[in-house]
Each structure stands twice: as C-alpha cells, then as structure tokens.
C-alpha cells in the first residue's frame, strides 16, 4: 500500500468504518511507515482535542438571559 492510498482511507480508519481486511492492510502500512503513523496519531489527537475543549464558552448568566428571552417570545406566540 502506498502512502497516498493510506491517506485516502485515513478517515475510514479513524471513524472505524473499514472492513476487517482493510483494517489489517492499513495497520500493516502503519507499522512500516513512520510518517503515516505520525499523521494518523496526530489527526486523531486533533479531533480529540477539539472534541474535549470548549472553545466558545457560553457563560451561565448569558445562557440564562438568552434562554429567558427565547421562552418569553415563545409564550407570547413569537
């Protein structure tokens, strides 16, 4: 398997949407190619970091204010 073929399947491997045979092929490539191993690990880490860190916080006070405004307008029939 070439690196370009591995890259084309990178998302499928990350999202676990590959057949057992394909997974085995991709993992064999990973064992032999340190560059693809770095790309695979750091891409997975990228997703994990964005998933686990709140980068746009909605402070409680603002959330309550917006929530109250939405519900007041809904109760009025918008």
């Amino acid at each position: 398997m070439k690196c370009s073929e591995f890259l084309a399947r990178l998302d499928d491997l990350i999202d676990d949407s590959v057949t057992t045979e394909m997974r085995a092929e991709l993992e064999t490539h990973l064992c032999r190619c340190p560059n693809c191993e770095v790309v695979f690990n750091t891409t997975r880490k990228t997703i994990e970091i964005y998933r686990s860190h709140e980068i746009y916080e909605l402070p409680q006070s603002l959330q309550e204010r917006l929530h109250a405004a939405i519900m007041a307008r809904c109760k009025k029939g918008c």
Binding site: L10, D11, T42, T43, T46, Y50, Y56, I70, C74, C78
Partner: protein, 208 residues
Amino acid sequence: MSTIQPIAGELEQHPDVALLERVRGGDVSAYDTLVRKYERQVFRIAQHITQNREDAEDVMQDAFLKAYEKLDQFQGNSKFYTWLVRIAVNESLMRLRKRRTGKMVSIDEDVETEEGSVPRDLADWAPDPEQNYNQAELAEILRKTIQGLPQGFRIVFVLRDVEGLSTEETAETLGLSIPAVKSRLLRARLQLRERLSRYFHRKRGVEK
C-alpha cells in the same frame, strides 16, 4: 411457542419525540426542556460560523424561535436536533451575508483550495501536547487555528467531529452529497492537524 414481540420502533423512539408531541399540544414547558438541551450546541455552531459573539447570540434566539414557529413543518423523518442545526446554520449564513453586505456567503466558499491536503509536517507531537498550555492559551490556539479554515471545511468539521452528527446527517443538514462531506472532512482534519503541529511538536528542553 409465542414470545412477546415489542412493537417495531417503539423501543427506539428518541426522547425528543415525546417532548415535541407535548409542544404540539400547547405545552410550552416541553419546549423549554428542548431549548435547554440544545442551546449550548446551537450557540457553538453559530459562533463557529459567524465568528462573532453578538451574531451567535442573535442566531441562537432566532433559530429556536423559528423552530418553534415552524414546528408543524417538521416531518419527523430526521431528528429534531438535525433539523434545528439546519435552521441554525442557515440563520448563521444569513447573518454573515448581512455583515458582509453584497458579498455572497456560502458553505462552498474557498473549498477549492488544495492547501493541507498532503501532510507536510511529519514530526511527532509531544505525548500530551495540550498540557504545555494553560486553558486560556489552548482555547486561543484552537480558536485561531479553526478560524483559519475555509468556511466549507470548518462547518463540516464542527458538525461532524465536534457536535457528533453522522456523515449522513451532516450531508442532509448542509445540503451536500455524502462524498462531498467526506472529502471536506478529510481535508479539514488534515489542515487542522498541519496547523496545530506548529504548537504541539515534541520539543527539546524546557517547555512553555
């Protein structure tokens, strides 16, 4: 021998369905529950697209109000959340258009770029790279990095990877084909990885 068969689909009914039934029956408190459940996500999505706090506040309110007004148009073929996100995405794009008067804004913007589709930075990262920054610094890095992505990649990444929509739901929400979502997601992930690499490299010596 007979066994008791569950009614098809009954066990898998999404909890929102019962809430929506109550809202349709005039119970506003059920809508209050739905708003509370999804307001953070809607705010985040709006902020990611508009990149403006005030716009995100307006989008959040308008999206929930629009969903309430148009609830009779919600068919129930998709999840309420997916339908709500579609409204929030459209409202966010409308805000952007207003802000950039005269300039078209769409999710197809800038997606022709080839930048970052082939990984260049192949140095490994530190084991827990985020530990080298405090929370505020890290948030700033993550914000700056994702804001640099083309709009059409950023929205796909946010819906699919941050908010956890499936590929199919993301495609439906954005009116894109599944191959288009997949292609944008891969490029978004690779571009973010490339851009984050400059902060998260394994470094020699004292860090921070």
